[in-house]
């Protein structure tokens, strides 16, 4: 067992270095590792779809109580129709399950985005900026209200932005830029974190330089 674990770590280190070799230039090791990744990933999805969805939510229900779950034959049939997409000749059959999926998704996203991303955001901006006693918070609240309004105005396309109506849009872009700066800072943090994780593996698990 210990030997197999060690071999496993060496395999992992090999693949890690294969990918890092891309930094020097695109090369056969990288291409190989990448295709292995694609293959493993596809198999992983398949196995989990079978064991976590197909069996418990469909086949197990049908096999334990067929007559009670007769209605499940409909999604099963629709699912099979979905697979017809693989052939150009039978592709049209897959339009039925797709239309049901798209219809459901469209209905649900319309409701949920309207509620969470529009109405809730609007009400979250309806605040009394002067409610707090501290000056930075009052300024912050004012920034929040003005920034939201100007930002939305920046995305308003039906009006010429000249003269005075140019300003809200300009202010909106400043807010967007500040936000992009913040995103940039956070992205630096995220990317570096990922590298730290890999180096920790190489220096720790593999080379045992760190504990």
């Amino acid at each position: 067992m210990a030997i197999m674990t060690t071999i496993g770590i060496w395999v992992a280190a090999f693949f890690t270095l294969c990918i890092f070799s891309f930094l020097y230039k695109d090369n056969p090791f990288y291409k190989f590792a990448e295709q292995v990744f694609v293959g493993l990933s596809a198999a992983y999805w398949l196995v989990y779809i079978i064991y976590s969805i197909m069996i418990p939510n469909l086949f197990a229900k049908l096999s334990s109580d067929f007559s009670g779950n007769l209605i499940l034959l409909i999604p099963a049939a629709l699912g099979v129709m979905m697979l017809m997409r693989i052939h150009p000749k039978t592709e049209w059959i897959s339009r039925y399950p797709i239309s049901i999926m798209i219809g459901t998704t469209a209905g649900i996203s319309m409701l949920r985005y309207m509620k969470s991303d529009i109405l809730q955001q609007v009400t979250a901006t309806m605040i009394n900026p002067f409610a707090s006693g501290s000056v930075p918070v009052i300024i912050g609240n004012l920034l929040l209200i003005i920034g939201t309004i100007c930002g939305v105005y920046f995305f308003y396309f039906s009006k010429k932005q000249e003269g005075i109506s140019k300003w809200p849009s300009k202010v909106g872009i400043w807010f967007l830029m500040v936000s992009f700066g913040a995103t940039f800072g956070y992205t630096v943090m995220a990317r570096i974190s990922l590298l730290i994780g890999r180096l920790e593996f190489l220096l720790g698990d593999w080379l045992h330089i760190i504990k």
């Binding site: 999805w45 969805i53 418990p56 949920r112 730290i196 180096l199």
Partner: protein
């Protein structure tokens, strides 16, 4: 021109590699401050009564595990510490393995916690937002069994838990779609269950508008820094804290790069102009 770019690039790569590696080998031990949003996440779990059931959803894959795995471990540990029960689930198939790994780490310190009584892994479900909506009506319809094929009705801790409303809090650790946003939209804004969670630092700025008066999100953990803050609050010297030194050094280096780049651009401009 072409050679120049490539060589320059390789130098930068090497310097960064060394800058990240050195603090890992020789730790410095800088302190981190806890920010308000992390505190909110912590308080939500801290203030939930004993015996309540929470959901931790592992909505990521190994590519972002450095950032999110420490959060998963810390949250499981926090729930165990407060005698709460946790349901582990995943909207990404790779999340199931992440959940099991996190669980293994925490169980080393809590060996008496039992599967089915204190925690359960309900596994991966496809369908994102629509599936969460279905959980709002009935959890057992979505999860007929746990990952061990034990039927829902035979899992002791799930007795009396029929739908999302019966859950005390939901935490989604999320690196994309579906994830935290979908949980928030359905579980919080449609079923009124407190939703909290963590995301990769890349997506954190986009989640801040949801941490508002209405508490669409109760706090937010954004990236490795927040994970280490959470560990600080828990009093746990976890994996995130150990990595923060490297993070700090690398950030300094990036700033140096920006400065050098600007100096170079300025001098070339002057030479030309």
């Amino acid at each position: 021109m072409k050679m120049n770019i490539l060589i320059e690039r390789r130098i930068i790569f090497t310097v960064l590699f060394i800058a990240v590696a050195l603090p890992l080998i020789f730790p410095i031990g800088w302190k981190t401050e806890v920010s308000g949003y992390t505190q909110m996440v912590y308080d939500l779990i801290e203030s939930t009564p004993d015996g309540k059931v929470g959901i931790i959803s592992f909505d990521y894959d190994p590519s972002t595990m450095t950032e999110l795995q420490p959060m998963g471990e810390a949250m499981i540990e926090h729930a165990f510490k407060r005698n709460q029960k946790v349901i582990l689930t995943a909207l990404w198939p790779m999340g199931v393995q992440m959940a099991e790994q996190a669980l293994e780490t925490v169980l080393k310190e809590y060996p008496d916690k039992k599967r089915g009584v204190d925690y359960v892994n309900l596994g991966y479900k496809v369908g994102g937002m629509v599936t969460i909506q279905a959980m709002g009506r009935s959890l057992s319809e979505v999860f007929p069994t746990d990952s061990r094929n034990t039927p829902y009705s035979e899992i002791p801790m799930l007795d009396g838990i029929t739908r999302l409303r019966d859950i005390a809090w939901i935490s989604s650790l999320s690196s994309g779609v579906p994830g935290l946003k979908e949980w928030m939209m359905v579980a919080r804004d449609s079923h009124d269950v407190p939703v909290t969670g963590g995301c990769t630092a890349v997506s954190a700025p986009g989640f801040f508008p949801y941490v508002n008066e209405q508490r669409q999100l109760t706090g937010l953990l954004g990236g490795l820094k927040a994970a280490s803050e959470y560990e600080t609050l828990l009093g746990r010297l976890g994996s995130a804290t150990a990595k923060m030194d490297s993070q700090s050094i690398a950030h300094l280096l990036i700033l140096v790069f920006i400065a050098l780049g600007n100096i170079k651009a300025y001098t070339t401009k002057r030479r030309k102009g």
